[in-house]
């Protein structure tokens, strides 16, 4: 499957292992990523918290480029980019006068024909391909799939699956042979957008998420958003200060798939995390190969 | 009496301002009763309207309206029950759709659509009936006499 690709800013910096791991295993499942040439930042929270028009116009430029470059679908792995791009596309389609205004600002036509897809949507459409390509089933691993906000909300934008009971990540994880644990905080917000500006709140929110994953016995939290990742990973030490329990590594869904496809943890960027992933990697490799077959 | 002479006879009273002649097609249950209420409440209104009582606006054939114009009306009022209150549950709903189409037909024929008032007057809206009547008369007065039919008749030998 060939699909337009919008990596977004984070995937070149704080979330680079998200990008790297995806690009690494994509060929193995027949996923071809065609990056939008000269894409720009989607504007993230800052644009839409302060200027509605800007929050549509910035993603609209990248979408217009995608259209010009003949793409009918665009994958935006970062949940925040996905949300911004998809919101722009939905609003532009629904509101002709906005479409006109934005097109004037962009100085290029925009029809918003390209469908914006999230990583969970694209990969869950390909679970059969993933299952077929698995060489290292993650049997015995318990994973807490974390959706956060923008992957599933608001329902009008992230309409791909049920906003209160999503299952796509669980489906991907089990295609990899791992067990998805039942936990309660998979839809709670981690405070992503305020990571820098209101750290205290973010730590409070993250703490309840990590504690719940611990309580559910998860060996790792699986995310699909660089903001969620950096919050839960980078700030986990602060979150768990004075708390009991082991740290919980935080992995991108793409890293999980990569591991199941037998790719090297190092190349998948597992070393780049703040919470040590070594014990987790240890678990995979210690599961005897014969047990995996069964 | 030929149609042409009838129009001649019904032409606006010469005394000063133009007095339009208005035909009103109303349903028995809502507007006719509302107009009765206007009477019992002594709501004063202009005398230019001539009323045709029908069971329901659903009964109103658009041919009636054309016929009224042909007969020298300068304006027409069609009025019945409010949507959802039709005595016959849906008659006025069908009527509304029909009149929407009729408006297009009027435009096509070159009849100014402001000559026809579609309104809802319930049995309790005597006052409103007076307003509809007066407003229509004033509007049609401003539009002037309707003589397209006359011209038409003159042109056709």
């Amino acid at each position: 499957m060939k699909i337009g690709y919008f990596p977004g800013c984070s995937l070149h910096s704080t979330g680079r292992e998200f990008n790297e791991s995806l690009r690494l295993f994509a060929p193995a499942i027949g996923l071809e990523l065609e990056e939008i040439k000269d894409w720009n930042c989607c504007g993230a929270t800052s644009a839409h918290a302060t200027n509605h028009l800007l929050s549509i116009a910035l993603p609209a430029r990248s979408l217009a480029l995608a259209e010009e470059q003949g793409m009918s679908e665009v994958l935006a792995p970062c949940a925040a980019c996905y949300s911004r791009l998809r919101t722009a596309s939905v609003e532009l389609r629904e509101n002709p006068s906005l479409q006109k205004e934005v097109s004037e600002v962009l100085e290029r036509p925009i029809a918003a024909t390209a469908e914006v897809r999230s990583i969970s949507e694209v990969l869950s459409r390909m679970t059969a391909d993933i299952r077929g390509a698995v060489v290292q089933p993650l049997a015995g691993l318990k994973l807490a799939c974390y959706y956060g906000c923008l992957l599933v909300r608001p329902p009008k934008i992230a309409s791909f699956e049920d906003s209160e009971m999503p299952t796509s990540l669980e489906g991907i994880v089990s295609a990899c042979g791992a067990e998805a644990v039942h936990w309660d905080r998979k839809l709670d917000c981690c405070g992503g957008g305020m990571s820098l500006s209101r750290t205290g709140s973010v730590i409070r929110l993250g703490r309840s998420i990590v504690s719940d994953a611990q309580k559910a016995g998860a060996h790792a939290i699986v995310v699909a958003c660089p903001m969620c990742h950096s919050n839960l990973d980078f700030r986990q030490r602060a979150m768990l200060k004075g708390q009991e329990g082991e740290v919980v590594p935080v992995l991108y869904i793409t890293q999980i798939v990569g591991l199941a496809l037998g790719l090297e943890p190092e190349k998948l960027g597992l070393r780049r995390h703040f919470v040590k992933t070594a014990p987790f990697i240890q678990r995979i490799t210690t599961v005897p190969a014969t047990a995996q077959e069964a | 009496m030929s149609t042409a002479t009838a129009i001649e006879n019904k032409s606006p009273a010469s005394a000063g301002r133009f007095e339009p002649r208005i035909a009103a097609f109303v349903c028995n249950w809502c507007t006719y009763t509302g107009a009765d209420l206007a009477g019992t409440s002594r709501v004063q209104m202009m005398p230019n309207v001539r009323m045709v009582r029908l069971p329901c606006t659903g009964r109103i054939d658009t041919a009636f309206i054309i016929k009224a114009f042909e007969r020298g009306a300068d304006g027409v009022i069609v009025s019945g029950c409010h949507p959802g209150d039709c005595h016959y549950s849906e008659g006025n709903y069908h009527a509304r759709r029909r009149f929407a189409m009729f408006k297009e037909l009027m435009n096509f024929m070159g009849i100014d659509e402001r000559r026809v008032t579609f309104s809802w007057v319930s049995a309790s809206e005597g006052r409103k009936w007076g307003d509809v009547v007066d407003e229509t008369i004033e509007r049609v007065r401003a539009l002037g006499p309707f003589d397209d039919y006359k011209t038409l008749l003159e042109e056709t030998p």
Binding site: C9, H12, S13, T14, R16, D38, W39, N40, C41, G43, A44, T45, S46, A47, H48, A49, T50, N51, H52, L53, L54, A57, L58, R61, V105, L106, E107, G148, C149, L150, R153, P154, P155, S163, E164, L187, D188, C189, G191, G192, G193, M194, L196, S197, R198, T199, S201, L205, F234, R271, R272, H273, F274 | -
Partner: protein
């Protein structure tokens, strides 16, 4: 507070610009019940809807409540009455910036400003530049500085920003949009 305030001003402005009808909110509180920031806000989402509906415009812009919203959309997703508090709050923030930018909490304002400046400069955002810019203009200078070396060590922070080809495009877009809303988060700072 006077109860003779005109309730129509903000209510109809909101409606015009976003299609949202704050009078629709029946104050069930479901939004606030699920809001992750409710305990830190002095005006919870349902209070905000109420304040708009009853014309208490001033109250909305007094505290920092509207700036604490994370846009997690929980409120919107669960509202039984098809209201969209998250969108309403966005509208209020935009309006607050246009009215009196100084009222926005400094760190939050500084962050958004720095972020948009990054976009305007490079077309994309580079964390290093963003952090530096934010810390310089935001005040909370030393907080988190310890993170940078760790980030860099993990190869997570690009040192050299590169700029997209269509940067002129992006600048024009940013300027045009900011001009339309008269916000202050553009060039001047």
């Amino acid at each position: 507070m006077s109860h003779n305030e005109n309730t129509q001003g903000l209510l109809s402005e909101l409606r015009q610009q976003t299609g949202q009808n704050a009078a629709r909110c029946y104050q069930c509180g479901k939004c606030s019940a699920g809001c992750p920031m409710a305990q830190e806000m002095s005006l919870r989402p349902h209070d905000i809807m109420r304040a708009i509906a009853s014309g208490h415009e001033q109250r909305l812009f007094e505290g920092d409540s509207i700036w604490l919203c994370l846009t997690c959309e929980t409120c919107t997703a669960r509202c039984p009455n098809e209201c969209d508090p998250a969108r309403v709050i966005d509208f209020l923030r935009e309006k607050a910036l246009a009215k009196n930018p100084k009222k926005a909490p400094r760190p939050i304002r500084a962050f958004h400003k720095a972020f948009i400046r990054q976009i305007r400069t490079h077309g994309r955002v580079y964390e290093m530049g963003l952090i530096a810019d934010y810390k310089l203009s935001g005040g909370a200078l030393f907080q988190d500085v310890s993170a940078a070396p760790g980030m860099m060590a993990r190869g997570k922070l690009a040192l050299m920003p590169s700029t997209i080809d269509g940067i002129a495009d992006v600048r024009r877009i940013v300027d045009a949009c900011l001009a339309k809303s008269h916000g202050d988060h553009g060039e001047e700072a």
